[in-house]
Symmetry: C2
Subunit: 331 residues, 2 copies
């Protein structure tokens, strides 16, 4: 298994995002980071629009978050705005671009968490909610609950006036063909990625969110790590904000997002050290493929992965987005 | 909010279970601990059979686990056997005795985790599975997944030959009356409790499991902490095994089970200190009512709660079960 520290062709605007120098603790700088999934991406796997389209989506998502943070808005709003843009793009495995289940359906999961209050919302098994992250936010703010699943979650969505769409909205040709390949070969694929965001606002509050269509060909009502608070999504002002992507089962068993925050809080590690310990060493030993983005309470950002690639980016107060699309050299 | 350290009338066989003296690290003693829920129990709330029946169920569950451990069986099998007995009793909010949702259904969740491998299985939103913990075990062992929900999970159950029952199986008069009270008053209740178990076997392996019917009157496909690995259920041979019960949302936001194990692993706390830090102090400050049972890798057991009562018990190699039913003095 190769790692985020490996030798990659980095197609980055500016510097690679994964190894910022740690500033002194007093030098807090607000910002937002996003990911568009980790896996075995290659240039050939990108959708028709290819590199340019994916990069444009990610820059738009970053700048939507940046605009909110720049005017003093909350990290929660910034994370939400960035994820909505990625959910609305067909180029990621979330919202519009969600992959198909074995039954030819799209089944969406999402979560969002407020590092200031530890408020959290999570939804799973949705078939008609255009932007699952918006429903997760409503669960957090307008219900006494943290997690809602399936038809019940959609009933709550309707009561909340959340935008509902017919299942056909989620049908993209790329995802459909991917299901056909999956059914023919029984192999996993993952050409498009889960999306997520982490942010620190000017008031010093952290937030994290994640949204996904799960696995191509999934069945049995399988739920991955994305809507599991502590596994795929976690934020706590005492430590950091994390959004994960990868083979969800490993992320659940290792409570990955919370484990990273725990090492920051209790062991005094930097987020880069903590993400290395969990994603590179712990998951790496288990062959648990994937990665995380994380941001600490000083605004330090890391994108750390043990898979072939992870689409990621971040932007700080200077308003210059940095997007990295990394994959191994093509044969 | 009163705590497990408060002044209670303890109706215990033998000594109270919550404060064992810590043995030296080399003195490992196998055993199993269980809970039958935390909340605002009073003697008047117990089912028809009352104290004697609840105590008998708990002793049977403990001794079923003990029998497996005594002959060198696994902690995973012991935890499962104990939970099945509590699920089959009408006196707990799990399996047979599950409470009703707002729609007059029973919706069951469960999880189990192997501290040796970090293997885990979790199920939620079941309506026809007699013993949810058995399905959680199958998810862990016979699928590549950790979590399955709703109809998909039940499809997997049928494929696995898990015993299915008609919804009427779960109808108990006490639970039905509780729903009517809830619908009339819109108040929470919780007269019967979630069940769970933690165990250490002779080979030194930890395991944890939890099973619940959720909240009386729940809606919107709400899922609590029980099937969330890290929140209501967690086991890791490096630290401890935990099963939680209480107001699930607080347990999810604080990733309670994993947090306790983390304090044991990274801060060198005893399980009692760690459970105090998380359940009494952290949850206590947030008014997050509930409790946990936890066992460390030396077999030390704690039952720690910030609610009025928690039904709990444990048994070690001596085969003498200790069951504690604690509640405040009746007026």
């Amino acid at each position: 298994m190769r790692t985020g520290r490996g030798s990659w062709i980095l197609l980055a605007v500016g510097l690679a995002a994964c190894s910022p120098a740690a500033p002194p603790a007093t030098d807090r700088h607000w910002g937002i980071g996003i990911h568009g999934g980790a896996g075995t991406f290659t240039a050939l796997d990108l959708p028709a629009g290819g590199v340019a389209e994916v990069r444009a989506d990610m820059e738009r998502a970053l700048m939507a978050g940046h605009a909110i943070l720049a005017r003093g808005g909350s990290s929660l709003d910034a994370v939400q705005a960035a994820i909505v843009i990625l959910e609305d793009s067909p180029n990621f495995n979330a919202g519009k671009g969600a992959v198909f289940t074995r039954d030819g359906k799209n089944e969406l999961d999402a979560a969002i968490m407020d590092g200031r209050t530890l408020g959290a919302g999570a939804v799973a098994g949705l078939h008609h909610v255009k932007n699952p992250v918006l429903l997760a936010r409503r669960v957090m703010e307008n219900s006494p609950h943290v997690m809602m699943v399936g038809d019940g979650a959609e009933e709550f969505a309707r009561q909340q006036g959340i935008e509902m769409v017919p299942p056909s909205y989620f049908r993209t040709e790329q995802s459909w063909q991917e299901l056909q390949r999956h059914l023919a070969t029984e192999k996993g694929s993952g050409k498009k990625g889960t999306v997520g965001a982490v942010a620190l606002d000017q008031a010093g509050n952290l937030a994290a969110g994640t949204s996904t269509g799960g696995l191509t060909g999934k069945r049995w009502g399988r739920v991955g790590d994305v809507p599991i608070i502590g596994a795929g999504t976690y934020a706590n002002n005492r430590s950091c904000a994390v959004s994960a992507t990868g083979v969800g089962e490993f992320f659940i068993r290792n409570v990955v997002a919370h484990s990273i925050c725990t090492l920051v809080e209790h062991r005094g590690m930097s987020i880069e050290e903590a993400a290395d310990a969990v994603v590179i060493r712990l998951l790496g030993e288990q062959k648990g493929e994937g990665g995380v983005i994380a941001m600490d309470r000083n605004g330090n950002f890391t994108g750390t992965f043990n898979s072939q690639g992870m689409l990621r980016g971040h932007v700080g107060a200077d308003g210059k987005p940095v997007v990295s699309l990394a994959w191994p050299e093509q044969p």
